[in-house]
Amino acid sequence: MIRARNPLKKSLPKLTLIFALCFLVTSFQLNEKTRKEFKNAESNEGCLRCHGQSKYSFENTETGEKVFRRMYSEAIVNRALFYESNHRQFKCTDCHSQDYDTFPHPGRLRMESKYTCNDCHGDDPMYEKFKFMQIEEEFQASVHSTKHRDDFTCWMCHNPHTYRISARTKEVVKDVVAYDNAICLDCHGDISRYQLLVDKENPSILEKHEWLPNQKLHFGSVRCIECHARINDSLLVSHSIQPKAEAVKLCVECHSTNSLLLASLYKFKVKEQRNKAGFFNWEMMEESFVIGANRNYYLGIASIIMFCLVIAGIGIHATLRIIKKKH
């Protein structure tokens, strides 16, 4: 049996490719706003033209044909995230070799050593208040560093192409929580990333936290580091990630008026009025409510007074009844 040829079917892959290419070209074009706002955007585009998307093209000098290749996922830099990141004003070659300007890139560049955070931030007086050296010390003593040594660098959590500070800049605490927890889940929730450093399977976060009441609410309201990092009063964000046995498991450490959340998640907000409307730790209450930590002072006083009055009233009434009965 001879099948009728469907011309549309034959041309469909080509059409899809054309549409996809049009989409890629239009969506990845450097827009005017970015060009104006970031002084290095134009020069960075020389790199991002290839590294900014999942495929790139070049001309085969032998055949003269245009060749498409897939970009290695680790070498892709998302423009949108990069231009929102802390390093958004940087030129690619501020951190990478100038020799990357040539294509194909020289093979020796693969051996290029990467900067660490403190190569730039360590001695810069402008960043002194953030205590990068102390952060480095904390990190070196943390379970991430001691268990993985040199394999684990700052970049594992703070991708230099995308990382942006959140705790100091975001108004909504739940956004800070979501952003910061995503950093942890990047490895702890993804076996392929987790196994870059460890051979075993990553433990299920949900199963390991089964003991935690209202799990979903906790995961959306507090960061992993609230329980898994040792608080350091002199640092804005603790980097001292502890082994699981050291994690905070005592509910009352957060669920009390002297909640440790004040020294961690709400550290940036505690400067505000502490006891607005009589509530303890008011700064927590704009988005959340922590039982034990947010009790109302006036309600507490009123309940004690009411309790005393009730007991006194009952005592007087009962005494009078007893006296009357004796007579």
């Binding site: 509910c251 009352v252 409510f289 009952i314």
Partner: protein, 205 residues
């Protein structure tokens, strides 16, 4: 000798007994959570949370048992009151408790088959059972499923509003319980009303 009236059928006694145990558990665990402190914990926080949650769910079921029971049996009639002259009746009963009782005056509204509660009891029981308890149960369930209930009802943190209502209502119910237990000692004898809750018979003076 005291006259005995069968006022408390088996189902109300079962409901009342379960209710008493659950309410006591909820108050103790609730207070423990509310005033949780690393240096002094009445009950360990996570244990208090678990007990409070289980007791809350059971209290809801028990309340439904009471609510439906009052709808399908004649016990519901004791919770209906005539608003006309209510204030006067409440005042009479209040004055009796404050003064008449010490002068050995007869109660203005003696308990009988048609009147299980005096006006003051009836009024407070209706408030406790048909206002405070449903409020504490609903806000308690909102705490069990905060993501479902409150993000849709309130903008921002509805949790704090919910908590304030839950805790406040809990306090009122706690005070109701204290006064309720004390007033139960006012009977034919000190323990006769407590005995009634076991055998079902009310003992009149």
């Amino acid at each position: 000798m005291a006259e005995k009236i069968y006022l408390y059928p088996v189902w109300t006694r079962i409901w009342h007994g379960i209710n008493a145990i659950l309410i006591l558990l909820l108050i103790v665990t609730g207070v423990s959570m509310q005033y949780s402190n690393p240096d002094f914990n009445l009950i360990r926080f996570d244990i208090a949370v678990s007990i409070h949650n289980y007791a809350g769910v059971l209290l809801t079921l028990n309340y439904l048992f009471f609510f439906i029971g009052n709808l399908v049996t004649s016990n519901g009639r004791y919770y209906k009151f005539n608003r006309k002259g209510l204030y006067k009746r409440l005042k009479m009963q209040f004055i009796y408790y404050m003064a008449g009782i010490f002068r050995n005056e007869p109660p203005p509204f003696p308990i009988k088959k048609e009147r299980k509660f005096n006006p003051l009891q009836q009024f407070t029981y209706v408030i406790a059972m048909y206002i405070l308890l449903p409020v504490v149960v609903i806000t308690g369930w909102a705490y069990l499923y905060p993501e479902i209930l409150f993000d849709k009802v309130f903008s921002g943190s509805g949790l704090k509003v919910n908590d304030f209502i839950h805790v406040l209502t809990g306090f009122f119910l706690s005070f109701f319980l204290i006064v309720h237990v004390y007033f139960c000692t006012i009977g034919a004898t000190f323990v006769s009303n407590f005995r009634s809750m076991i055998n079902g018979y009310h003992e009149s003076h």
